[in-house]
């Protein structure tokens, strides 16, 4: 598959009164055409900021994408674009689905207007053509009576229905990449299943690449082909879903997998949590940021941050002891 997106040494920082927050601290990854990639991690690990940086949606000040970062989308250098050029990419070739379907639609405009405006702008359609396509899109995302619904306002829609509208909006301009930031976190589990199923089918059908940002390890296991695990602004492990879940090599990945209760195993086993708290991103030292919580930490971990190394076929992990670690060790250690 040809490469669609290349992110190279992306660093995004926020300058605050408390110091500089290194929200994203040198991440490198690629997304191929039509591929589904999940970025997982806990609050504050930089997964959202990393994705927002792709669309240059970081407010400056206080935010800044540091010199030396590179984002190339379909051969174009995103960071070198003028404001007019990036506006053309946003909502056009790359679109976004946000977590909050309540706040990401304009409450005083009808759904129809919000859908057609985008298409008239990006695709240069006329009003009647855009109207026709809006009806078609709402039907595609499973909203009944689309003609009537187009005249309604966001508050007439339930949370799940609003998220369907967001997906219709994201698909409306034939994007090549959709970035979905916690698309189902605000929804109930049966609605979450409907929405994720819908996104999977539509992106497959239309050959759109998808980056899903989530903290839910179950969602990743069900829907993603490739997984990137982030901790404190860096990528600590990445590989296929099967590699990351069944042969994790980074202590944080192992810790995460041991922390989640599983519905399909019988009760009685105690969870093995990761002790301690995630680090303060203004006070990172030169060593591995996971070191204080890691049960395998050695002296070398304090001296430098381990580079990402190949640990399997296409799987990488950033740990000095990555080759020694196995999942089942965690429960006996």
């Amino acid at each position: 598959m040809p490469k669609l997106l290349e992110v190279e040494n992306l660093r995004t920082q926020f300058h605050t009164t408390e110091g500089t927050v290194k929200a994203v601290d040198g991440i490198t990854y690629e997304v191929s055409e039509g591929e589904t990639v999940a970025i997982v991690g806990e609050s504050g690990c930089g997964k959202s900021v990393g994705a927002m940086s792709i669309l240059r949606l970081i407010p400056n000040p206080p935010g800044e994408i540091v010199e030396g970062s590179r984002i190339v989308f379909g051969g174009q250098d995103i960071l070198a674009m003028s404001d007019a050029e990036i506006r053309h990419v946003r909502g056009g070739q790359i679109s976004m689905v946000f977590q909050e379907p309540m706040t990401s639609l304009n409450p005083v405009l009808t759904i129809g207007l919000q859908l057609t405006e985008t298409m008239m702008l990006h695709l240069g359609l006329g009003q009647s053509e855009a109207d026709r396509r809006a009806v078609e899109l709402l039907g595609m995302v499973g909203i009944g009576e689309p003609e009537r619904r187009l005249k309604q306002y966001p508050h007439h829609f339930s949370g799940g229905m609003r998220q369907r509208v967001m997906i219709a909006l994201a698909l409306s301009c034939n994007p090549r990449l959709i970035i979905a930031d916690e698309p189902t976190t605000a929804l109930d589990v049966t609605i979450q299943a409907q929405i994720l199923e819908l996104m999977r089918n539509l992106t497959k059908q239309m050959g759109v690449a998808l980056i899903v940002i989530t903290h839910n390890l179950g969602v990743v296991a069900r829907y993603a082909e490739r997984v990137i695990v982030m901790y404190a602004g860096r990528i600590v492990e990445s590989g296929t879903a099967d590699q990351v879940y069944h042969h994790p090599h980074h202590p944080y990945t192992i810790g995460l997998l041991n922390s989640v209760p599983r519905m399909d195993v019988r009760r009685g086993k105690r969870l093995v949590p990761i002790e301690g708290q995630p680090p303060d991103l203004t006070r990172l030292d030169g060593g591995c940021s996971y070191r204080p919580r890691c049960r395998w930490a050695v002296d070398a971990c304090a001296r430098s941050f381990p580079a990402l190394e190949t640990v399997g076929d296409g799987q990488i992990a950033a740990c000095f002891r990555a080759h020694e670690l196995q999942l089942d060790e965690a429960s006996t250690a």
Binding site: Q194, Y223, N258, L271
Partner: protein
Amino acid sequence: MNAPAAAPEPAAGGGIARGETILEVRNLRKYFPVTEGLVFQKTVGNVKAVDGVSFDIRKGETLGLVGESGCGKTTTGRCVLQLDRPTSGEVVFEGVNLEQLSNQELTPWRRKVQVIFQDPYSSLNPRMKVGSILGEPMRVHGIEPDPNRRKQRVAELLGVCGLPAKFADRYPHEMSGGQRQRVGIARALCLNPDFIICDEAVSALDVSIQAQVINLLEDLREEFDLTYLFIAHDLSVVHHLCDRVAVMYLGKIVELAESDELFDNPLHPYTRALLSAVPIPDPRVEAERAHQTLKGEVPSPLNPPPGCVFHPRCTLAVDGCRGALPELRELRPGHWVACTEVS
């Protein structure tokens, strides 16, 4: 009201042995009126948030109450706490019907039943130090009148919940979400309760911190002989933590069973769909699972469907489901299901 000779007071230590019923909820209903008009308000309908819920909890066990937003699980918890007085039904705690007590008579009982809320950000007073948040209830209820002893007890409680004693001098905003939730747990413990309602107590926490708090709740249950009503929407957490689980849909319990039994053999069509919707964190298991997606959305509790409330979304529905409301039936020992079409 004719005052009885003396309002019942809780017995010291509860007087309930492990395994005996500590809480009985009978036919609980809570309707919220919907009004119209600015000056002359008239009731135009009722939101039936909880509509005929019954269950028992035995001392020392954890009962899970699961369901999606708006199914009435939180309202059920608030009615047990008497934060909302039920429209009808009984809440019998340690043998005493709390519905028959006045607000004043309830005070000693409030000490016995405590709550841990979901949001560690909004459930702690931002202007109070942790020491006062934990010490104040002890003073009000006269548990520890001496300020020095109270301080000592606050330090002990913080230690029990895995926080250093110096946290007593901190304000809530100086702590992380996980630490705040530990303070919320310490506050629930400070009056030596017998029974704690955990309302989405771990839902706002990140996975690694969530596991720490789940383990803490399990340890406290053993150490202080506690009984939990665990209200949550995360089925994996409920399965892990609860002995028995009740599934709610639109104000009613549709299924109730031992935790492993419910997750291995769900019988009600709603429970089946709900469990199938929960993704399991293992790509190999997910690749082999059959996924059944539930069509449509939950109807409004203002105007619930007649008969079985689930019938408009149900794959098994027959004509009879539109007529009579199905009763909970015991289809296997201890496994109760409100559906006429399964056996």
